[in-house]
Every structure is written in C-alpha cells, then in structure tokens.
Amino acid sequence: MTDYAPWAIALGTWIAAGLTIAIYSFLYKDNPFYKLAEHIYIGASTGYLIVIAWYDAIKRLLWIPLRYPRNNYDYLVILPGILGILMFTRFFKKIGWLSRFSLAFIIGWASGVAAPAVIKGLLIPHMGSTLKPIFDPANFSWNPLSIIFGILTVGFFTALVYFVQTDKYTDWELGRRLFIIIGTVASTILFFLFAVGSIGSFMQAFYTLSILVGVVSVLFYFFYSIEHKKALKGVAKTGIIFLMLFFGSAFGYTVMGRVSLAIGRLRFLVNDWIRQSTGKQWLIGFCVIIVISVLLLLSERKGVSSEG
C-alpha cells in the first residue's frame, strides 16, 4: 500500500469502504448493493487466480522449462502438460473419459505418498506422545500409605466395573453410586499423591494420565462396532466429556477468530476511511453512491417487472 500514489490510496480506500458497507448491508437483508459487491469480489478473486495460475504454475513449471531447458530431461514436462490439458475434456460429454488418466495419476500419486507419510507423520508420533510413562520411576515409592490406597483403588475400580456389568449399579440409589465413584477417584488421587511424593510429579502424572484417558475414551466413543452399554458406556461418556471441553474451547476461539475479522474491518472504516477522508472526497463519494444506487434500483425494478 505504500507503493501507490496518494490519489490511488484514497480511491482504493473509498472502494474498499463501499464494498465493506455493501456486504455488511446483508445483515439487514439481501439487497442489490450486497449482490453487486459479491459479484465484484468474485470477479476480482477469479481474475487474481488466473494470474497466479499463469505466473506461478503454468509459466514456471511448463513454459520456462520448455523455453529455457537446463537439460534434455526438461522437455519431458510436455507429457504432464498433455495430461493437464486432458483434464479439460471433462467439459465435453463424449470425450470426458480422457480426463480419467490425469485424475488417475494425481490420485495414485497422492494415495501412494499419503499412506506411508501419514503413518510416519501422524499415527506414530501421536501414539508415542500418548503412551508415555505416567510418572518417572525414580520418583515412585512403595510406602505403606501408597500401598493401602493402591489396593483401595484396585478394589473400588473392580467393584465399579463388576456392579455395572451385572446391572446392579442401575438399581442403586444416588448415595451408593456417589460413594463408589468418589471412592474410586479419591483413592486414585491419594495413591498417586503418596506414591510420587511431590505436588510437581503428581501434577505431571495427572496431565499425562488426562491425555491418555482422553485419547482412549474419545477413540472409543467413535468406535461403533461394539454397543456402548454397561461399563463401556462409562468409557464413551468420558469421551463425550473430553469432546465437550474441546468443542467449548473451539467455540471460544472461533468467536475470537471471527470477531477479529470484524474488528479489522471496523477499524479500517473508522481509522482509514472516516478519519482520513477529506470534504472533497466525501462530496465525490456521495455523488457516486447516489448514481450507483439509482442504477441498481432501476435495474432491480426492470428485472422484477420483466419476471412479473
């Protein structure tokens, strides 16, 4: 923007402000100004894509190697060039099948590369980060309290699973249910606290365990080959809780993201347009807006009456 003449900056600011207000007018209701702005945007972005496709794609990859080859192998680019041109045959019904060769190459290439790359780049690193030791063995100690709470943890957890699987859990009153769940959670926390000794190690163990429990329970929630009933229902419900925390965080950040764009546009309108425009610019702008409004409203009326 610093490379333009002052009059070009002023003109551009007014055009941008006009487009911004025309698009925001859609918040009131759909109208000709919005449609005009939308079509101008589509035209500009498509024209932009054409230029990018020419300079950065076709000219760089096809034209330059053929025109200024570094070696004889550069001439081979004519073959993918032909395959690329074959893609346009999809617009013609009779010879549309020729585009399948180009698509076949693209899809074969992408599938062949994706399979090993995704295993190496996504599956193994993320599984490795999940399956980490919950605590450092050097910090772990079997003392009487940790042994007692360890046994209690195993006992409570086994009892919980047993009563859920045998359908006795659903017949219990709230007090009993709370007792067994709080017992399981409390004994687990106290076991870790007494076993690892320090709050820091305990928190590290808690974080690692929360990742492990989260990943396993969410994966299980999406696993539909087994019915989610009894004890497995509890696992799926844990997955839902983690997912709800994820969606809540995502919602909060989405609000932040979208609002940032609105802030940017309104800052532009206030600081760059309203505050920077001179009286002369306002006069010219006002006249242009009136002319455009009259033309748009007349064409809309003509369109409506011809349809009627």
């Binding site: 950065d56 790359a117 940032s260 764009l261 802030i263 940017g264 800052r267 206030v270």
Partner: protein, 291 residues
C-alpha cells in the same frame, strides 16, 4: 418475573444484537482502553526459537493465509518480519495456497517501505535488499509434492522466485540446497496446512516448525504442540498482541485486543442472559404443566 417480558427477551430481533456488536467493537476504537497483555508459553515457544538463531541465519516463512483472514494474520506477519530483520536474520518466503501470494507481497512491501524510511532517517545502516536479505518464491502448486520437492531440492523445485528471477541466481539461497538447511520454518496459516508441513516437512526432514495461525485453527494444533512436532503457537489476534508485547511495541493486534475484550464480555452476557431467560421460561412451563 413477568413471563411476557421473558418471551420478548427470547424473541429479540437479531438486528438489535448486530447493532450492539458494532457498538461494542467501535467504542474501544474511538476510546482506546490500552489494556495490558500477558504472554503465554505457546507464543514464547515461537519467539524464543527465532531469538536464539544467530544473525545471518536464513529462516523459511510459509505465507499460507487467504485475504479473508488478513486482519488476524497480517499483524503477526509484520511482527515476525520486524523481529527477523532487527536480529539480522534473512527470510525466504514461500506459499502453497493460491490466494496467499498477494498477502505475502503486501507484508514484504510494507516492511521494505518501513526499513527504507529507517535507513533514510539514519536509524539503520542500510535498508533491506531483495535477493540478499529476503526473497519470496511465490505460489508453488502441488501441495504435498511441493513440500516433498523442496525437502530434497529447494532451488530445483522452486525454479524461479515471484519476480521471475532464477532461484539459482539469488544470493540468499546460495547455501540452501534443501528444506533441512533452514534452521526454522514458521507457517502463517489459516487452515490445516501446518499438518502437511509437519507430515511431509518436519517428520521427513526434521525441520523445526512454529505455527502462527488464526484463532479458529489454534485449538486443533495443541495436539501437535503436545507431541513436540511444533515449538509453539501464535494464535489469533491475542497471539499477535503477545508477540508485539515481546517485541515491545503496540501494533494493530494489541490495539484490537481492546475491542476483542469488550465483545467477548458482551457475548458472555448474551449467553448468560439467553440461558437465564430460557431457564425461567422452562420453570414456568413446568409449573403450568403440573397444574
């Protein structure tokens, strides 16, 4: 509580809500609040990684955001460029999103203008020179193929820069043969390109990556941060404001946080009022049914 009032509250015209949103955004623009910003570890993860690079190092910056997210991404891009050039680092830009080159050229030309002015005022020894201090390779089609290609042969894959200069003739690329020759890659993205850079770039060549992204993308990348695949995340306008604080200046991102704060509080009020009215109405309906 009068149930008719609750009903009216629940059926309020949305255009009134739109007007309140505009007011909440515009008032802090007209009357700045100058709110302080606290820096998080995720942002430090990117900042410190750039800070520890010795002067003369060349970093790769992937400009992969569309014009639609410019208000969020441009302040981050400008802050990053200022940090790099003030430290004496060199920057090579690249894009694999077709809408991105315009944004990259905009940021780089803004920074060029800024440093031209600094050099003219004597605040800097010399301005930035294209081809020596920075270069932009333009849009590289092919997504994964581009990353894999530059992973093995950077100049051979790019061939020319966005101005049409031969990549082999650019002084900045003299010592760069492949992706791993860059000590750090920062991806400015508004979609899931970071995953491709991680899978085809970091995991295959070992290049260290930092993410500068929109707020919409940020929550999804924490898993990559946790796995050690990226060094840090600068997410959204908030992340940009934190980066500006670390660089000790108040830019567009920090100024935008005033409006961001007010609008967030407004939306929280909307949610609480909406649910409060809903719960009152439900309670009233329950009582009616029991009668």
């Amino acid at each position: 509580m009068n149930i008719k009032f609750i009903d009216k509250l629940l059926k309020i015209d949305r255009r009134i809500i739109f007007v309140l949103v505009v007011i909440a955004i515009v008032i802090p623009i007209l009357f700045p609040l100058n709110l302080p910003v606290q820096v998080t570890d995720e942002v430090r993860g990117v900042f410190n990684e750039v800070e520890k690079l010795p002067p003369g190092s060349t970093i790769l910056v992937a400009f992969d955001y569309e014009p639609s997210t410019t208000p969020e991404m441009e302040p981050m891009g400008i802050a990053l460029m200022r940090q790099c050039f003030d430290k004496g680092l060199k920057v090579v830009g690249i894009s694999w999103l077709q809408q991105a080159p315009g944004n990259a050229i905009k940021v780089l030309s803004k920074i060029q203008g800024e440093y031209d002015t600094k050099a003219a005022e004597g605040k800097r020894e010399k301005s930035l020179v294209y081809g020596e201090d920075y270069a932009y390779m333009g849009f590289q089609p092919g997504w994964q193929a581009m990353i894999l290609g530059i992973g093995r042969d950077f100049k051979g894959t790019c061939k020319v820069d966005y101005k049409g200069n031969d990549a082999f003739s650019l002084p900045i690329l003299k010592d760069i043969e492949k992706l791993a020759d860059f000590p750090y890659l920062i991806c400015l993205h508004d979609d899931s390109m970071i995953n491709h850079w991680i899978i085809y770039g970091h995991e295959i060549t070992g290049i260290r990556i930092g993410s500068m992204c929109t707020a919409v993308m940020a929550p999804g990348i924490y898993a990559n941060l946790n796995a050690g695949q990226i060094t840090g995340i600068v997410g959204g306008l908030k992340g940009g404001s934190e980066y500006e604080k670390l660089l000790k200046y108040r830019g567009a991102a920090t100024s935008g946080m005033d409006s961001q704060t007010v609008i967030h509080v407004l939306i929280v009020i909307f949610i609480l009022v909406g649910n409060f009215a809903y719960l009152i109405k439900e309670h009233h309906l329950k009582k009616e049914r029991m009668r």
